[in-house]
Assembly symmetry: C2
Homo-oligomer: 308 residues x 2
C-alpha cells in the first residue's frame, strides 16, 4: 500500500545543471502517476527507476513549457516501446490544441489512445475515483489557468476485532453487517454496536500538490490537514515583490500555507535558478513551519501507514 | 581559430540513463552551432558549459522527435534570458508548421526572430557563407527527408614569406598583389611569382555530419576527404537487417563510408539503447577503419591546425 512522492525536477522555468524542470511521481497503491512533465522527464524516470508501463495517468497543472515540454518525448518513447494501453492526461482546456498538433506531426505510429480530461477551474473537483483513493483538482492562482491536485485515501473497510468473534459467536452475516458500520440487533434484542466490534485498519493518507501559485486562503481550504504537501517556493524573502508580480510564492509563504492548513509535512520545490544554495529557502520556511523539506530529485517522501 | 565537435547526446530514438537524444555542438572560429536538438539539449549545454548567447544557428537533420524535442525548451529559455538576437534554424520544410504551432502556444513573450531556412533536398547546397568557412547541406537516406551537413574552411589568405620582403625590397602594393595570388611584373621585367613569395598559413579543415541515414555512395561524394566525420552507427552487425529496414547504418557500414570517402577520423554516434557496452560497435568499425571513435557526451573532438 505505497503512498509516496518523488520529485524528478525541482527547477522553475530555467533549469540548471542539476535541477530539471517540474516533473513528479506520485505512487499510490501500486499505481504510478505523473504530476507535470517538464523537459527531461523520461530520462529522469529512467534514472530513478520508474516504469513507463505502470504509468497510466498524467496530471498537468498548467500550460507553461517548464511543466509540459517533456510530454512529447515521453509519449513518443511509450509508442516506440509498443504501448497499447490508454493514457489519461488531466490538463487545462488549452492543452487540446497542443496535443492535436503533436499527434498530427509525430503520432502516426501511435497505437494507444491519449484521453485528454479537461480540468474545470470553477472549484474543487473529483477527477479520478479509484477503489481505495480519490484524486481531486482545485484552482491555483497563477498567471494562467492553473490547478493543484489532492490525493486522498478513502476510509478503509472496517476490520472486525477477531477476539470478539468467538466470544459473541458472530455469524458471517453479522460480521459483514458490523464491517459495513451497521449495528446488529439479535433476536434476544441484544445490540452489537459496530463501533465496539470493529476498528479502522489505518487512517486514510493524503497528499497535495500546489505549483505554480501565489499563496491563497482558498488553497488552504482545499488541502486542509494533508499528510504531505508539495508547494512551490520559487523565491526567498528577498524576492517577495517578484513573487507577487509573477504569481509565485516565497518559501516563507509556502510555509505559512502549510501552517494554516495544518498539514503534517511540506516539501518545497520549483526553485529559482538564482539560488545556488537552497538552504536560505529551507531556513526561511522552517522559521514558520518546522517540518519543512527541500525537494531533492530522486528522493522519495513516503507517507507511512498509521493505525488508529 | 577553434574547429571542434562535441556530442551532447549520442542516443538514438530511445534515450537511456546515460545517453541523451541527438544534439551536438560545432564550434568554428568563435561561433557556436547546434546540430540537431533532442530533448534535454539545453540541460546538456549548461552541463558542458556552452553559452546560449553564442548560439546563432541551429541545423536540424530531419523531423523526428529525438532530433528536435529539445528545441522548445531551448528557445523558451533563450526568451527568458532576454534574447533579442535573431536565431536561424536550417530545417526541412515540414519544420515550419511545428515552429508556428510552438510560437502560437508559447511564443507570446519572445522578443527575437526565428528564421526558418528551408533545406533543399535536390542536391548539395551552400546554406551558410561566412568569411572564413562555409556550411553545406546534402541529402541523406532515411525514412523521411533528411540532411547531412558539411562545414569547410575556405582557403586562407596567403601569407608573405617575410624574409623575402627585405631581400626583394617589396612594396606594400606588391605584397598585396602577391597575397592575392597574382604575379608581380616589375619595370625591369623581373617576374615575382606569387607561389614563390607566399605560403598558405594552414590547410583548410572540414567536418561532416551524417545522421540518420543508410550508407550511400552519394554521401561519400559529398563528404570526400573531411578531417572529421560524425556518422550514425545505430546498430552492430547482428542487426544489419534492422538497419536496412529502418534506414540506419551499422558501425561497420559507417566505417566503410569513412574508408571510401577517405576521411581522417570518424566519430560514431546515435547508438541503439540495446547496446549497453558500446565496444562492440567500436571494434566492428575499427576492423574496417582504424581511426574510429565513439561519441562520448561532453567530449570535444578538435581538428588541429596543420600548416602547409
Amino acid at each position: 500500500m505505497d503512498f509516496s512522492f518523488t520529485s524528478l525536477g525541482c527547477a522553475s522555468a530555467l533549469p540548471t545543471v542539476n535541477r530539471y524542470p517540474s516533473a513528479h511521481v506520485l505512487q499510490v497503491h501500486g499505481r504510478l502517476f505523473l504530476i507535470d512533465c517538464g523537459e527531461g522527464c523520461q530520462m529522469q524516470m529512467r534514472k530513478y527507476g520508474f516504469s513507463f508501463l505502470k504509468l497510466s495517468d498524467i496530471f498537468i497543472s498548467h500550460i507553461h513549457g517548464d511543466h509540459i515540454f517533456g510530454m512529447f518525448g515521453l509519449l513518443s518513447t511509450m509508442s516506440l516501446l509498443g504501448r497499447l494501453a490508454d493514457i489519461n492526461i488531466y490538463a487545462p482546456a488549452g492543452f487540446k490544441s497542443i496535443l492535436l498538433s503533436f499527434l498530427d506531426h509525430f503520432g502516426d505510429s501511435f497505437k494507444f489512445n491519449i484521453n485528454h480530461i479537461v480540468l474545470d477551474n470553477s472549484s474543487k473537483h473529483l477527477i479520478l475515483d479509484a477503489k481505495k483513493y480519490q484524486i481531486f483538482s482545485f484552482p491555483l492562482y497563477h498567471r494562467v489557468e492553473c490547478y493543484g491536485f489532492l490525493c486522498k485515501e478513502k476510509d478503509p473497510i472496517l476490520n472486525i476485532k477477531k477476539y470478539l468473534i468467538d466470544q459473541y459467536n458472530l455469524s458471517l452475516k453479522e460480521i459483514a453487517q458490523l464491517k459495513r458500520g451497521e449495528n446488529v440487533v439479535r433476536e434476544s434484542e441484544e445490540i452489537l454496536e459496530s463501533s465496539e466490534f470493529t476498528y479502522k485498519p489505518y487512517i486514510p493518507r493524503s497528499f497535495a500538490y500546489c505549483s505554480d501559485t501565489s499563496p491563497s486562503d482558498k488553497i488552504i481550504d482545499a488541502i486542509k490537514g494533508v499528510d504531505l504537501l508539495y508547494h512551490e517556493a520559487t523565491f526567498a524573502d528577498d524576492m517577495l515583490e517578484m513573487a507577487k508580480s509573477t504569481f509565485h510564492s516565497t518559501a516563507r509563504q509556502a510555509a505559512e500555507v502549510a501552517l494554516k492548513a495544518n498539514v503534517k509535512k511540506i516539501i518545497l520545490g520549483h526553485f529559482s535558478s538564482r539560488y545556488k544554495d537552497l538552504s536560505i529557502l529551507l531556513n526561511q520556511s522552517r522559521e514558520v513551519f518546522k517540518n519543512s523539506f527541500l525537494a531533492e530529485q530522486g528522493h522519495t517522501f513516503s507517507v507511512d501507514i498509521v493505525k488508529e
